[in-house]
Structure formats: structure tokens, C-alpha cells
Amino acid sequence: MNRLNTLFDTKKDLLSVYFTAGFPQLNHTTTILQALQDAGVDFVEIGMPFSDPLADGPVIQKSSTQALANGMSLQVLFQQLAHMRKTITMPVILMGYLNPVLKFGVERFIDKCAEVGVDGLILPDLPFELYREKYHELFESRNISNTFLITPQTPPERVKMLDENTNGFLYMVSSAAVTGAKTGLNQFQLDYFHRITAMGLKSPRMVGFGISDHSSYRQVCQHANGAIIGSAFIKLLEQSNELTGDIKAFVASIKS
């Protein structure tokens, strides 16, 4: 059990927010983290920026490029997060691509995550099979959850396998798209949600990709444990002159 498991056991209609570490400015990571908790977000994904984020759309890609130009790296990120558990009580997940993690050293990376109080990881280009073979014991020994993505095209037997093997949650990609694509819920997506619900999976499910406002948040909450907002929040950060106040207003607008 970690903070993430406890949260899923005790609360519904969860709101999770993604933001890129080191964006808009290098030292904004912890400011944004604190502001999101204070605004009532249930948990966060902190994006570890990568030069070639191929599952992300232009908004997150641009924020990653900016964060790298600002000097963000895994080393810097772990320094910034070193004391977060003095004030941050919500679950914190790191999300990013495999290459920087390999370069940092997977074991060293997992140790650092455990040390600063990270609860889980989302590494979209770490294939499930490789995770099973090489890394799941390491993750579990440090009590770090791993989350897998599923999409409308993922075959049922694979959904079952991913469900059985995650100790975190399933990240339901709401449609076939990179992050930040504009979508309302259509019949195709509703069918997908119903199909997954009917499978009676053991793992909690969060819906991401294309969630941008109160109405899309409410809608997906009917079919999952909650929703993840990414690109819409990054767009807010791009424009914000007063981070804490703007974040509070943004989260309030989603929740009510």
C-alpha cells in the first residue's frame, strides 16, 4: 500500500493534474505542486521533460522543450523534490520517457523516487513485457506503483493482462490521440468506457487525453475513478502571471 492505493480506496471522482517539471520557469516545480494541493487536486503527475516526447502533442512538447532550456534534468528534479514530503500529502507520480531514466540508471532512479516520496511512475515507452521481465521486482521492492496505458484499440485479453499486473491504476487514453487533442465524448468513446467497465477489472482507472473542463471531467467520472488533465493546465501556465491564484481558480472551475 502506498498513498495512491489509499486514495483510490477512500475517494471517488478524483481529479489529477499533469504538469511539466521546470516550466514555465525552472524553480516553479514545487510552487505549482503546492498550489495544486492547496487547490484541492487529489494527486499529480509531474512530467520529466524529454527532447523527443512522441506520445505528446504540441502543448506538452513545447513545455518540455522550454523546461529543458531552463535547465531541468532528473538530477535537478530530485533536488527540487527532496523536501516535498514536509508539506505535500497527496500522491505524486512521475511521468516521462525511458531514455533519460536509463541514462540516470534505473535502480538509482527508483531509489531516488522512494527517497523523496514519489508514489508511482508512468513510463509510456517502457513496454509491459520488459517491465515484467526486468523491473517489476525492483519497483515493488521500493513500493513504487507502475501504471499502464490502455486505449480503445487495446484488445480485451491485453487489458486483462495489464490490469492484473499493475499495482497502481490503469490510465485510459480516452481516444486514439496524442495528448492535447481536442475531443468531446462521442459514442465511440462511450462504447469504449462501457466495454471496459463491463470487464470488472480489479484496478482503479483514470481517464486522460482530451479532458479540459468541468463537463468532460464530470462525464468521465461516471465511467472511471477520475480524470487527468494535462494540456489544458499547461496552457494555463503558459499565460499565467500569478501562478497560485490562477491555479486555484482553474481547479475550482474544473471541480464545480
Binding site: 506520445a55 531514466v101 487514453v173 486514439a176 490521440a177
Partner: protein, 394 residues
């Protein structure tokens, strides 16, 4: 040892490090490509198109004046005479037949120099399929004639606007397109890069180059095996094709030449072997240029087709095993080699191919050696660079 295992690994290289969104498409391809490619119907159609449409076999030409100059026997494998002007068509003919067999109507591709984009647009026109080509904006400017060719062939050319706006960025955009269009789209990759099964599939479709070299040498000099095969390497498809049928013949020395740009120590280079180390790029574990944080370095080469920070996993394995040798070549030296071939043999090569010719002075050949150099493409598309460097308008 030089063929991937079931999961697409050449030793530790290769594999398929891809997000879940791509898995259904990649699985479908992985489960079908060998059976389709090896089927009699496919082979018949593929070879008929190579012969009657592409104009193969491409000639193996004895470059006599170059041979005299370097005191050896130099043979040019003339992929520049392939229809559309490069080896790229060998692969696109094969993959378009696969796409048709798998019922995909919408074809996407990435391109650097535009040679793969043109070859893709060509087969799409031939088959009446929709074609979208992603190309870095920098490359669209420096290879403008190829952009016009693709458009005339009916393809839509979409600019990639991230990074240095070159091949790496175009590949990212093509992968994003495939993620967003998972059911009707076939991603026609142009080199031996990307997730399994692409490196193996493209190598098999380019292997016609070495198959012909063997047959042609046998006919001309009575032996199938040369002493050297030399080819340029960006992602590495023409080199993979040139090496393929010689991999198990250790007497044949295999030499790949990579683009050093302004020099391997200049920071402005695309020499992934000389300057890179192991990591993941575009779904494949291989050598790539990256910084100490695992961020991929923006490459540079005057040659848009070699301007890529990674290399196909087969080549990574060939390098580590010592089966092939890889040599870096700077812009300057490549340009001089292009001029030399032009003046001595009357062949204007592509800038990419000039990188292969450029190592001839660096190797100590014996008078009895048989040396095959693959001229991967023709130089028409590079006339702007040649005009500027050699001041041809004055």
C-alpha cells in the same frame, strides 16, 4: 547473430520501446510481415515491379579511372539509376504491397533528404493511395526540388516544426500521426530504424542490392564475393541492403560511413557511432547522440539524408561484433568526393552517397581487391549545395 530474435533484438539492440497506443499496429505488422513477404504471390509482384517499374537490376559499373587512381578495382552499385533516383524505392515498393495486403488506405512517411518521401509518394500514386509525408522544415528548404516532386505526385507534405526541424523531428511527427490514426493508416518507414519489425523488414526489402551485387560480380569476374563493400549510413538502409547477403561471409569487409558534419569533435555532427552511446530513439535501442541527461542531441550534416542522431540496431550490432567498420566523413571531404566522382566518372552523386566515396583514399587497397561502393542516390536534389560550394554560377 545478424538477424533479430522474435522480439526484434539484435543482441541488446532493437526491440520495440513504444507507447501502448502503437502496440496494436506494431503487433499486427509483426505477426504478418514475414508470412506476407515470404509468400510466393508477394515475391512475384515485388520482383515484377522491381524489374518493370524500378528498372532493376541496377548496374554494377566498373569505375576504371577511379580504380586506376586508387590502385585497385572499384565497382559502383548504381542505385542512383533506380526509378526516383535512389535505393529508397526498393523498400517503398515492398511496403506498399504489404499495406495493400493489410487493407490500409492512408499512407504516412517521414523523410530527410526527400528521397524516401518521393519514393513513397511514387508508389502511392501507382497504387492510388492517399499519401502524407512529414518533413522537417529545414529539410524542406534545402531539398526543395524533392518537395515539389512529392506535391506533383499528389502527396501532402507536412512540415515538422520542432527541434532542428530535420529527420528526427519528422519521424516524431509521423509516429504521432500513427498514434492518432490507429485503424486506417500504414506507417511506411524509410530506413532500418524504428520499433521491430521495421529494421528487419526494411533490411529484407533492401537486400536486393547485395543479392544483385553477388550475381553481377559472379558474371563479371567469376566470383560472388568482393573484398570490400562500402556504403553510407544515416539510419542505414542502403548499407543494410548492401551488406545483407555478405553478413555471413567474413572475407568481405563491410564499411559504413557516417556523416561527421563539421567534425566529430565540433558538436555539429551526425556521427552516431563515433559520438554516441546506447539509448532509445524512435522505439529502438541503439547508438544515438545524447547528452549526460539522456536528452537526444540535435544532429548536423550538410546531407539531409544522413542528418539523424541514431542508427539502425543492426548496425549497432555489426559495430560491436566487429563485423562492420564505421568511419566518419565531414561535409567538406564528402563534397570533394562528390566532385571527384563527377569529374572522373561522369556521375553526380547525392551528398549522402558522396560520404561513401569519401573513404576511398583512407583505405589501403591491394591491386587485386574488388571494392564495391554503393552510390545510393543521384545528385540532382543537391545541386543547390553544389552550386554554392563549388561556385558553379560564377
Amino acid at each position: 547473430m545478424f538477424h533479430p530474435n522474435e522480439k526484434g533484438f539484435y543482441g541488446e539492440y532493437g526491440g520495440a520501446y513504444i507507447p501502448e497506443m502503437l502496440i496494436p499496429n506494431i503487433e499486427e505488422l509483426r505477426n504478418n510481415y514475414l508470412e506476407i513477404i515470404e509468400s510466393e504471390a508477394f515475391q512475384k509482384e515485388y520482383h515484377a515491379l522491381l524489374t518493370d517499374y524500378a528498372g532493376r537490376p541496377s548496374p554494377l559499373f566498373k569505375a576504371q579511372r577511379l580504380s586506376d587512381k586508387y590502385g585497385t578495382n572499384i565497382w559502383l552499385k548504381r542505385e542512383d539509376l533506380n526509378h526516383t533516383g535512389s535505393h529508397k524505392l526498393n523498400n517503398t515498393i515492398g511496403q506498399i504491397l504489404l499495406a495493400k495486403k493489410m487493407g490500409r488506405q492512408r499512407i504516412i512517411a517521414e523523410t530527410g533528404a526527400g528521397q524516401h518521401g518521393v519514393a513513397t509518394a511514387t508508389v502511392c500514386a501507382l497504387m492510388g493511395l492517399q499519401c502524407i509525408v512529414y518533413m522537417g522544415q529545414t529539410d524542406m528548404e534545402r531539398q526543395a526540388p524533392n518537395v515539389a516532386r512529392m506535391r506533383m505526385l499528389g502527396a501532402e507534405v507536412r512540415p515538422a516544426l520542432s527541434g532542428n526541424r530535420t529527420l528526427k523531428d519528422a519521424t516524431n511527427e509521423a509516429l504521432r500521426d500513427w498514434i492518432a490514426n490507429p485503424t486506417d493508416t500504414f506507417y511506411l518507414i524509410g530506413s532500418v530504424v524504428g520499433p521491430h519489425p521495421y529494421p528487419d523488414m526494411v533490411a529484407r526489402l533492401q537486400a536486393i542490392i547485395s543479392l544483385e551485387i553477388k550475381q553481377q560480380l559472379k558474371q563479371k569476374i567469376g566470383t560472388e564475393l568482393p573484398d570490400y563493400v562500402i556504403a553510407c549510413v544515416g539510419g542505414g538502409s542502403n548499407a543494410a541492403g548492401s551488406f545483407y547477403h555478405f553478413l555471413e561471409d567474413p572475407s568481405v569487409q563491410l564499411i559504413g560511413t557516417e556523416a561527421a558534419g563539421l567534425g566529430v569533435d565540433s558538436g555539429e555532427t551526425a556521427a552516431s557511432m563515433a559520438c554516441g552511446d546506447i539509448g532509445i530513439i524512435h522505439g529502438s535501442m541503439t547508438y544515438l547522440m545524447q547528452n549526460e541527461d539522456g536528452q537526444i542531441t540535435e544532429p548536423y550534416s550538410i546531407s539531409a539524408g544522413l542528418d539523424y542522431p541514431g542508427i539502425g540496431p543492426l548496425h549497432a550490432q555489426l559495430k560491436d561484433s566487429g563485423r562492420a567498420t564505421y568511419m566518419p566523413v565531414t561535409d567538406e571531404v564528402a563534397l570533394q568526393a562528390a566532385l571527384e566522382l563527377t569529374r572522373m566518372e561522369g556521375i553526380i552523386p547525392a551528398l549522402e552517397s558522396a560520404h561513401a566515396l569519401a573513404v576511398l583514399p583512407r583505405i589501403k587497397f591491394k591491386p587485386t581487391d574488388q571494392v564495391v561502393v554503393t552510390v545510393s542516390g543521384r545528385g540532382d536534389k543537391d545541386m543547390k549545395a553544389y552550386m554554392e560550394y563549388f561556385k558553379l554560377t560564377e
